[in-house]
C-alpha cells in the first residue's frame, strides 16, 4: 500500500508536469465542450442539446484520457526504457500498473467533475440526480477504455507514431459514437460502424443515467458490450504487452 501510494503520487506529478498531457488530455475536452456548446442550442430528442453534448463529452473525455492518454504515455515510457528500468527495481509490476491505472482514473474523475460544473455554470445543464450511479458508470467506462489503452500501447511499435496512430482511432470513434453531436442523420453505414464501437455504448449508459435519470442496470446490454471491449483489450495486452523497447 505504501508503495502504491508512493507510485500514485509519482504518476500524478508526472501527469501534471507534462504540459502536453495536461493540455491535450485534460483541457482539450473542456475546450471542445465550450466550443460545441456555443454552437448547439435547443433540444435534441427531447433533451436540452447542451446536456446531450455534455454526455457525449464525458464519453469523449473517458476515451481521450484512459484510452489515448494512457496508451500514448505507455508507449513513450516503454520506448524510452523507463518501463524496463522500473522492472529492475523492487517495485512490483502489478503495483506499478495499478498506480498508473488509478492515476488515469483520477485525472478523468476530475475532468468529469469540471465538465459538469462548466455545463452547470455556462450552459445551465442540470446536476445529475443519480450522482452515485453516474460516478459508477463513468469509472466503469474509463476502466474499459484503460483496458483498450493497454492494448493499443502493446500493439504500437514506436513512440514517434504513437500519438498519430491513437488519434486516428480516437477521433473517428468519437465522431461515430456521437460524442460531438447526435448521429441520427449519419448515413446508415456510419451508424452501423458506430454501433460496434465501445464509446457508443458508453455514451448510451451515460445518457441513460444522466439524461433519462434511470438506474444503470436498465442498460445491461450496453454495459455488457463495453465490458467485453475492455476485457478484449486486457487479453490483447496480456499477450502482447512488453516492458522492453520495441524499436531499439
Amino acid at each position: 500500500m505504501r508503495l502504491f501510494l508512493h507510485q500514485l503520487r509519482a504518476e500524478q506529478l508526472q501527469f501534471w508536469r507534462s504540459r502536453e498531457a495536461a493540455i491535450f488530455i485534460f483541457v482539450f475536452p473542456m475546450l471542445l465542450f465550450l466550443l460545441l456548446g456555443s454552437v448547439y442550442s435547443g433540444t435534441i430528442s427531447g433533451h436540452p442539446a447542451r446536456e446531450v453534448l455534455l454526455a457525449g463529452m464525458l464519453g469523449y473525455g473517458a476515451a481521450n484520457t484512459a484510452f489515448a492518454g494512457l496508451g500514448i504515455s505507455l508507449v513513450i515510457r516503454r520506448e524510452g526504457g523507463l518501463l524496463k528500468r522500473i522492472r529492475s527495481t523492487p517495485l512490483p509490476a502489478a503495483t506499478y500498473l495499478g498506480a498508473v491505472l488509478v492515476s488515469t482514473l483520477l485525472v478523468f474523475a476530475l475532468q468529469a467533475v469540471l465538465l459538469l460544473v462548466l455545463g452547470r455554470l455556462l450552459y445551465g445543464t442540470h446536476v445529475p440526480d443519480r450522482l452515485g450511479s453516474l460516478a459508477l458508470v463513468l469509472l466503469f467506462g474509463a476502466a474499459a477504455f484503460a483496458g483498450l489503452g493497454l492494448a493499443v500501447a502493446s500493439l504500437i511499435r514506436s513512440a514517434e507514431g504513437s500519438s498519430a496512430a491513437v488519434n486516428v482511432i480516437l477521433l473517428p470513434m468519437a465522431f461515430l459514437s456521437g460524442s460531438f453531436g447526435p448521429t441520427r442523420r449519419y448515413p446508415e453505414v456510419l451508424r452501423a460502424i458506430g454501433d460496434a464501437l465501445p464509446l457508443r455504448y458508453f455514451i448510451k449508459l451515460v445518457n441513460g443515467v444522466y439524461l433519462d435519470d434511470r438506474a444503470p442496470w436498465h442498460y445491461g446490454t450496453a454495459a455488457g458490450v463495453l465490458a467485453a471491449w475492455g476485457v478484449a483489450g486486457l487479453v490483447v495486452a496480456a499477450r502482447r504487452f512488453s516492458w522492453e523497447p520495441r524499436s531499439a
Binding site: 508503495l3 508512493h6 507510485q7 509519482a10 506529478l13 508526472q14 508536469r17 507534462s18 504540459r19 524510452g80 526504457g81 523507463l82 524496463k84 528500468r85 522492472r87 529492475s88 527495481t89 523492487p90 517495485l91 512490483p92 522492453e244 531499439a248
Partner: protein, 282 residues
C-alpha cells in the same frame, strides 16, 4: 578470497539462428570491480542483461547474489542497481524528484542528496531532467542505480558521453563503491577506464571470452617493448623482445655520431594495444 557474487558457467544465448553467446564462464568475487570489454556486438549487453534478469539464457548456469536472476525475485531486485546502456527516464521531473521516486521503491534507500552529490549533480538538483546534457543524464542514471544502496551494481557503458572531468568523477565514484565493499560489473569501450578501475577484465569477442585476468596480467601477455624516437625528422618505432640490447645499440650509435635521440620513449604495450591485438583475431 571472498565468496562469488556472480558465477557463470557455460552460458549460451542465441537470437534466432544467431549465437550471441557461445559458452562463456567467469566468477566475480564479492567486492570486485569486473570489466567486460569487447567490440560492438561482442555480447556484453547480452551478458549483463541476462545477469540482471531481463533476458533468458538458453543454457548454462548462473548465480547472482545467490539468486537465479531469471526468476526476477523482489529480494534480488532490492540488492542490485542497474544502469542500462540507454534510457530516457522522466523528462518533466527534476533530478531530485526522480531520485526521490526511485528511492521510494527500496526498503533502505540512501539519502538522495548524498547520492546527487556523489554523482556530481548537486547544482542540477532542481533542474528538469529534459534540460540536462547527455552526460548529465547518464550521471542521473548512475545516481538512480545507487539510490537503493545495492550490493551489486551493473553498469553498461556508464561513462559513454562523459567529458574527461566527468569521467574522473565517475571513476572516483566507482572506486568509492569498491571501498564500500560493493561488487561492480561494468562494460566499457575505454581501455584506460578498465585499467584504472577494474580488478579484473574479460575480453569478449563474438560471444566468447578470449582473455580474462587483471589488467596487468593482460598487458603482460604481450612481451614486446616499444621504443620510439625521431631521426632526421622521422618517427621511428621499434618493437622488440630485447629492449636492453636494442636500446644499448641505439644509444651507442647516437653517442658515437654525437647525436641526440630526440623524443626517446620506451614503453610497455598498454592494455589498449593488447586489446586491439586480441579482438583483431588470431
Amino acid at each position: 578470497m571472498s565468496a562469488a557474487a556472480i558465477s557463470v558457467t557455460d552460458l549460451r544465448k542465441s537470437y534466432g539462428d544467431f549465437q550471441a553467446l557461445r559458452g562463456i564462464g567467469f566468477d566475480i568475487r564479492e567486492g570486485e570491480v569486473f570489466g567486460l570489454l569487447g567490440p560492438n556486438g561482442a555480447g556484453k549487453t547480452t551478458t549483463v542483461e541476462i545477469l540482471e534478469g531481463y533476458r533468458r539464457r538458453d543454457t548454462g548456469s548462473i548465480e547472482v547474489l545467490g539468486f537465479d536472476p531469471q526468476r526476477f525475485e523482489i529480494g534480488f531486485r532490492e540488492r542490485i542497481g542497474v544502469v542500462l546502456q540507454q534510457s530516457q527516464l522522466l523528462p518533466n521531473l527534476t533530478v531530485a524528484e526522480t531520485h526521490r521516486i526511485f528511492a521510494g521503491y527500496y526498503e533502505q534507500p540512501r539519502d538522495i542528496d548524498e547520492v546527487i552529490q556523489l554523482v556530481g549533480l548537486a547544482e542540477k538538483r532542481d533542474a528538469r531532467v529534459r534540460t540536462l546534457s547527455g552526460g548529465q543524464k547518464r550521471r542521473l542514471d548512475l545516481g538512480l542505480a545507487l539510490v537503493g544502496d545495492p550490493d551489486l551494481v551493473f553498469l553498461d557503458e556508464p561513462t559513454t558521453g562523459f567529458d574527461p572531468a566527468a569521467r574522473r568523477i565517475a571513476w572516483d565514484m566507482i572506486r568509492s563503491l569498491r571501498s564500500l565493499g560493493k561488487t561492480v560489473l561494468l562494460t566499457t569501450h575505454y581501455l584506460d577506464e578498465a585499467q584504472e578501475l577494474c580488478d579484473r577484465v574479460a575480453v569478449l569477442r563474438e560471444g566468447l571470452i578470449v582473455r580474462i585476468g587483471t589488467p596487468a596480467e593482460l598487458r603482460g601477455t604481450s612481451l614486446e617493448t616499444e621504443i620510439r624516437y625521431r631521426k632526421d625528422g622521422q618517427d621511428v618505432v621499434v618493437r622488440t623482445l630485447e629492449p636492453t640490447r636494442v636500446l644499448s645499440e641505439l644509444t651507442a650509435e647516437a653517442l658515437a655520431a654525437g647525436r641526440e635521440l630526440e623524443g626517446l620513449e620506451v614503453r610497455r604495450p598498454t592494455l589498449e594495444d593488447v586489446y586491439l591485438e586480441l579482438v583483431a583475431g588470431e
